[in-house]
């Protein structure tokens, strides 16, 4: 094969991939000029990026061939940045086959143009790292970073590999870097959101900020950083356990806590109802408190 045939072939393959995925891309109208992209997850469900979906209950969704349908928000999870909408009509949705992300794989990030057609961006997977926790406390199965820039309205669309299999949903991370919410996370969270409207998560009822442990206390604490309690929710689990503002959390269930990550990882859905041992620095000494983890209240 000569060079021009190769390039023409590559281009034809890419346009074919986009054409095949087109029926699964939805535009969620935010106003007359703005929209967000969503994935037609199944015939009556659209999945999108939670952080960019305004807090309204109803939206209009534009599907293939400019078909407009009404949509109701069925659930949202800021922890994994996934929102699901149910749509009134049931178009035919192409089933997806999940792909595995590898650094260097060629990928297409697809978006909706707002008028019923698809937009496309080409790049490679920049980086793949293990499971991570978001600031909002959700667990995401894999950290996938793309070497692609996206327009604001293209966020929430599917990311597909060279074989047309899907990696997951595109979303903006810090500094508008494009991340993928992996297929495995979508498959775990979307059914739960459709059923309950939210994801249960353990709750302590405290706001924490990482601080340096003052030097004279470092030996007693056995570490140089901890999480200072900045405020406490009235009547929340921590308040009931006697936690006060200014306490510095240094360990949870015997495991040292240096940064917030370690605590969030222990507050999954299965933690609700469990008793946890919280070690805090208070008045120059280390105090142990028993907290019964509750379910995070809605909203």
């Amino acid at each position: 094969m000569n060079e021009s045939e190769f390039l023409a072939g590559l281009s034809a393959s890419l346009t074919a991939r986009v054409a095949a995925a087109r029926s699964s891309i939805a535009a969620i109208r935010l106003s007359d000029e703005h929209h967000l992209t969503g994935i037609l997850w199944r015939a009556d469900v659209v999945v999108t990026s939670e952080q960019s979906l305004p807090r309204r209950d109803e939206f209009t969704v534009v599907l293939e061939d400019s078909k407009r349908v009404g949509a109701r928000v069925a659930g949202r999870d800021p922890g994994t940045n996934i929102a699901v909408l149910r749509i009134a009509e049931h178009p035919s949705a192409t089933p997806w086959s999940p792909a595995t992300a590898q650094p260097g794989s060629i990928v297409l990030a697809l978006g909706a143009d707002g008028a019923g057609d698809a937009t496309a961006r080409l790049g490679v997977v920049n980086r793949v790292a293990p499971e991570w926790h978001s600031v909002a406390g959700g667990r995401i199965d894999q950290r996938v970073v793309l070497d692609i820039r996206l327009g604001r309205s293209e966020e929430g669309g599917p990311v597909i590999d060279a074989a047309g299999a899907y990696l997951g949903m595109s979303t903006f991370g810090p500094r508008r870097r494009v991340l993928v919410i992996p297929a495995a996370t979508l498959e775990r969270v979307v059914p739960a959101l459709l059923q309950d409207g939210r994801i249960a998560r353990g709750w302590l009822g405290i706001a924490l900020q990482p601080v340096a442990v003052p030097e004279p206390l470092q030996q007693a604490a056995g570490q140089s950083s901890g999480l200072m309690v900045m405020s406490i929710a009235d009547g929340g689990p921590a308040a009931k356990a006697g936690v006060v503002a200014g306490d510095i959390v240094v360990a949870l269930d015997g495991t040292p806590v240096r940064r917030a990550r370690g605590v969030a990882a222990r507050l999954g859905a299965d933690s609700v109802g469990r008793s946890a041992d919280l070690q805090v620095i208070r008045a120059g000494g280390v105090v142990s408190l028993q907290v019964t983890i509750e379910a995070r209240p809605a909203g």
């Binding site: 978001s134 810090p174 900020q209 601080v211 340096a212 405020s231 929710a233 990550r261 605590v263 969030a264």
Partner: protein
Amino acid sequence: MTIAPFGRTAAIGDVPDDAPEAAAAVTHAPLQRVHVHVRARSAARREALERMVEAWGHVTGPDAHDADVVLTEGDGSSADESIVLASGAPQGDYTSIQRGDQASTLAADSTPAQIDAALRAVALGLVVRSAPASADDGFAALGDESLRPLLTPREIEVLAAMAAGGTNKMIARQLDISLHTVKFHVESVFRKLGVRTRAEAVAKGIERQRRETIEL
């Protein structure tokens, strides 16, 4: 110690219901009282905002010309509805203050602590801009910025007192420590945040606290 308000009780949208409670959670040294003139879309919302501002120890008044700061609620016509603050220079027509160069703007979902800090900053002649959260923050991982040097609880207290407009002498009195110790903490805060002025330290400190504080 300055305690951050808990949760999202602070959104301007729910001012009429829970602003006094949210505001009560914010304790401040009564260092700087700001005269504020509030403009809002309706009388009810104006009163709610005035109650909130008064709960922080500031004074509200009916005359824009007597005010240090004019706080104007956005007109609600666009998605990025915002709160506009302007220093009370008695020139020009206040109704025309929108997103001009001299006006400070805050996102409509700013917390009471952010609005309070902005009021104080604007009264001092500074211009405040809050970064649009959705534009720059993105969906972030916990501990993304975990390599930065952390402040000690004492340094956080000193920084909070600086944010309230306290001089080293006032901070020493307030925290009951020596002037020498305050200077030591201030220098340490400057070094850890990589700043050279108090205004920079306050701005960076507030931003860092916003990013690093998590609710669990």
